[in-house]
Amino acid sequence: MTANLLTLIIFVPLVGALAVALFADERTVWPAAFIFSLLPLALSIYLLVAFNPHDNGYQFVERRPWIADFGVSYHVGVDGISLFLVPLAALLVSLTLLYASGGDIDRRPREFCFFVLMLETGLLGVLLAVDLFLFYVFWELTLIPIYFIIGIWGSQRRVYAAFKFILYTMLGSLLMLVALIYLVLHARGYLGAATFDLTDLYRVPLSHAQARWLFAALALGFAVKVPVWPLHSWLPDAYSEAPTAGSMLLGGAMFQMGVYGFLRFAIPLFPEVAREAAPLFMALGVVGIIYGALLALAQSDLKRLVAYASVSHVGFVVLGVFALDRFSVEGAVYQLITHGLSTTALFMAIGMIYLRRRTRAIGELGGLWRPAPMLGAILMVAMLSAVGLPGLDGFVGEFLVLLGAYFASWQAAALAVSGLILGVLYMLWAYERVMFGPLAKSADRGIADLAPREVAVIFPLIALMFFLGLYPRPLLRRIEPSVVAFLARAQAAPAPALSFDRAKPQEFAGLRVVP
């Protein structure tokens, strides 16, 4: 099984998607989809167990030619950076399906399950691809399902949000594609053969100008996805218009893609430029932290609030990645996991409120703790995790990020810390207005507390928050070697500045007729 483990993990959901779409009926579709989503989860847990924590390279590598002539191969592998994101994505998809079946998705369940499972394949593929072409294919593959999920099951302005999302993402990804092709063509001049293999492309020397443009194109694609301020404006719309299940996937499992892109591709491929751009991105990260927090403070819709809070939190991640410090990068990777958990839990809790009250407007709610203390408690834990209370998961990553950022630039860390203060302010203010205070509206009085199935859905997340907050060591241990390897690349001296041989492409461009 180990030989094809990653392939199984990636494609079992796709098989499930097709099976569900073709064979399931309204009654069996939810359990079927859920079971199909459990398979990759189980496999990825096996992956965790079997992973060798001392190896800093790719493990479980599978490599076979695909479009061999163009150097495209089906090359997948897992390292410490992606190791935990895989089971996380699988878990979140399972929980999303479980949650969605409870009333959140009330129509066209078959299509929904199809898209969610297809999305899972895309997500896992993005995390596991080592070949740039393969990566790009999966990257785009995630786009369509979530577009449908927002567009079909979203709320009022869903179409607008879906368009905004897809146009933003396409803008980034198509320029990225251009850059990737350019890079590969350029690399062929050195390697003798075209290759999309990441490990080969590391060896290609680039002129500074080339590296700068290529980095810019890749960074744009990834920055949109993260999103890095000021490219965030799709996010509040997408997060708030999507159905709860969609928000959970977007906020919990998809935001990692952009950061992952930086970690895996943009920075290691162009370390020199990345180092140059690092101060800029750190600054953008800090601006994002404060900007997102201030905007979250101004929101009157719970989902929009969490959306802007996400902008703020990914600011920490960006800061951590670009501080290019061992602590901060490891913290950023850790935050990829923890932010996914807390955002998912927050959206889930908000969804539970919405199912009961049919509103997400903070002003319409109040005093919900009285009728629904369990819901209140869960929302509290999720919020505390999000604001980085020590002892919960969010703190570990935030601490490491800030520590590393402090080493890189104490000013950045000092400014970023204000995000922690504002975080408590907007989260607890919203919490206070929703959960505390008198029961103002008669509609609030009758609402039910969590049903057992809802507890079952959210409990794994809460448990993980405590576990990851109190015992991060096993994760950090496995992440570390890959982070060290990443930093070694990121700090590497520029490749020997060979002069680029322009003659080679000319040969092809000016194909002459043989008389």
């Binding site: 061999a68 002539d69 320029l175 590969v184 492409p505 461009a509 000016g510 007729v513 008389p515």
Partner: protein, 501 residues
């Protein structure tokens, strides 16, 4: 096998025209049979046409593996020709499948319809195989005149006759330019044979002569019209919108492929010496075509008209590839046409399936709620839109990928960036179709009972769109081989250029 037998039975010199000959004979057969049959038997005629085209597609293989002029250089037989024979025959056959429903429903005159379809196909094939300027002209006109009539064939629909008329007037107008170009080129080089022209232009003195330049410009203009390049595109939306839907499909796929076949052979294979001259013009045309096509498509509510602008936009992408020139570009364009053809045919097939008899033409509103009533049709349409959008792993993506590669390889970075930005714009209008089908509610409508032919066409289009994208290798090989054979360079030469070994 069949092709082998037939091929062996015939004189070798007939091989190059085997496929068009089969089509032409079928056309005559259709006219003969059709005159004996009543209109109610149109489906039988359709199947007759289909089998002729299928046979022609097989016969196309008779041309494979050779590179030789035939009929004193009037036609060129090589893998390139075979590729386009095959592509054109398949496209035409698919259009027949689309028409099986449509012709009786709109009460079109079936005999004339199928005969014209076949003669248009003959013209396309000739254009693809043309080795001299006369055949280029003849092929173009055979194709065009047939299609003018086909566009106007729905006599009860005033828009159809208007479409035909406009197409005809502008087409004839454009023919004047093309012809003038032919005349000038002939005057400058003293030959109408492409080989000879190409040889003559090797001398730089001649290449710089104003006569050559003017001729080249006129040819660009003429072909620009046929491939719907901006600013010679104005006929496209009206003709596409007014023509009966299967005819629109033929225009979007067959006419376009054939025009590009001729255009590509002329410029890339025989006039690379003038690349310095036409490259810049094509650069501008490509940029304009992409941008205008995509932008105006944003504003369309009629799906056929939207697809017309989308066709313009795709012509722009193909022109990007042509601008790059070289082996990689040639192969990329061929591959692109392949993927583009099936996605478009599929989209038109869906339109045929959902179109109402009393009101031809489909607006976005008409697609509302399609996903609920006709989930398979909607899914298929979504797939085609995604392929046209250029999303992996569908054929449209790989095509774009190769075209971009070729252009980047030749150093046209900004043109490719512009193409990428245009692709972003295109996302919007393709996605709008998906939104219409999946998000919007529509009135419940009963669709015509579909004949199996249309379902077959849809299935083929779906399968091709996926397969060509997921495992592009054999098709890339095919495209690269075809172009290599035409360009007279070793197949490995193109491989070296286009692929990596």
């Amino acid at each position: 096998m069949i092709s082998g037998t037939i091929g062996a039975a015939l004189d070798a010199s007939w091989r190059p025209v085997l496929a068009p000959a089969v089509v032409a004979i079928t056309a005559m057969a259709v006219m003969l049979v059709g005159s004996r049959l009543g209109e109610e038997d149109s489906e039988g005629l359709g199947w007759l046409t289909f089998s002729g085209l299928a046979l022609a597609a097989l016969c196309a293989f008779a041309a494979v593996g050779r590179h030789a002029p035939a009929f004193a250089g009037a036609l060129i037989v090589d893998d390139y020709t075979a590729f386009f024979y095959c592509l054109i025959a398949v496209c035409a056959a698919m259009v027949v499948l689309l028409s099986l429903d449509y012709v009786p429903a709109l009460e079109l005159p079936s005999t004339e319809y199928y005969a014209l379809l076949l003669s248009a196909t003959v013209g396309m094939m000739l254009l693809a195989a043309a080795g001299d300027l006369i055949i280029i002209f003849l092929g173009l006109e055979t194709m065009s005149i047939s299609v003018y009539v086909m566009a106007a064939i729905a006599r009860r629909d005033p828009r159809s006759s208007e479409a035909g008329l406009k197409y005809f007037l502008l087409g004839a107008f454009s023919t004047g330019f093309l012809l003038y170009g032919i005349a000038l080129l002939y005057g400058a080089t003293g030959s109408i044979k492409l080989e000879a022209i190409s040889r003559a232009l090797q001398s730089s003195a001649l290449a710089a002569s104003p006569l050559v330049l003017l001729g080249l410009a006129m040819m660009l203009i003429g072909f620009g019209f046929k491939v719907a390049a901006v600013p010679f595109h104005a006929w496209t939306p009206d003709a596409y919108e007014g023509a009966p839907t299967p005819v629109t499909a033929l225009m979007a796929v067959g006419v376009k492929s054939a025009a590009f076949a001729g255009f590509l052979r002329l410029l890339l294979v025989y006039l690379p010496a003038l690349h310095a001259q036409w490259g810049g013009a094509l650069w501008v045309l490509a940029a304009l075509t992409m941008s205008v096509g995509n932008l105006v498509a944003l504003a369309q509510n009629n799906v056929k008209r939207m697809l017309a602008y989308s066709a313009i936009a795709h012509a722009g992408y193909i022109l990007v590839g042509m601008t790059a020139a070289g082996g990689a570009a040639g192969a990329a364009v061929l591959y692109y046409l392949l993927g583009y053809a099936f996605a478009n045919l599929g989209a038109f097939a869906v339109l045929v399936a959902v179109e109402r008899v009393e009101q031809p033409g489909t607006t976005l509103a008409d697609l509302g709620g399609l996903a609920k009533g006709q989930p398979m049709l909607a899914a298929a349409m979504a797939l085609f839109m995604l392929s046209l959008m250029g999303l992996p792993p569908l054929a449209g993506f790989v095509g774009k990928f190769y075209v971009f590669s070729a252009a980047l390889q030749a150093g046209y970075v900004w043109l490719v960036v512009l193409a990428a930005l245009n692709s972003v714009i295109s996302t919007y209008y393709y996605a709008r179709v998906i939104v219409a089908m999946y998000v919007n509610e529509g009135a419940e409508r009963k669709l015509r009972a579909r004949r199996p032919g249309l379902s077959v066409a849809l299935a083929v289009a779906i399968a091709a769109t996926i397969i060509i994208g997921v495992d592009p290798r054999p098709y890339v090989e095919m495209a690269a081989g075809a172009y290599a054979s035409a360009a007279g360079i070793a197949r490995s030469g193109v491989r070296a250029a286009f692929l990596a070994h």
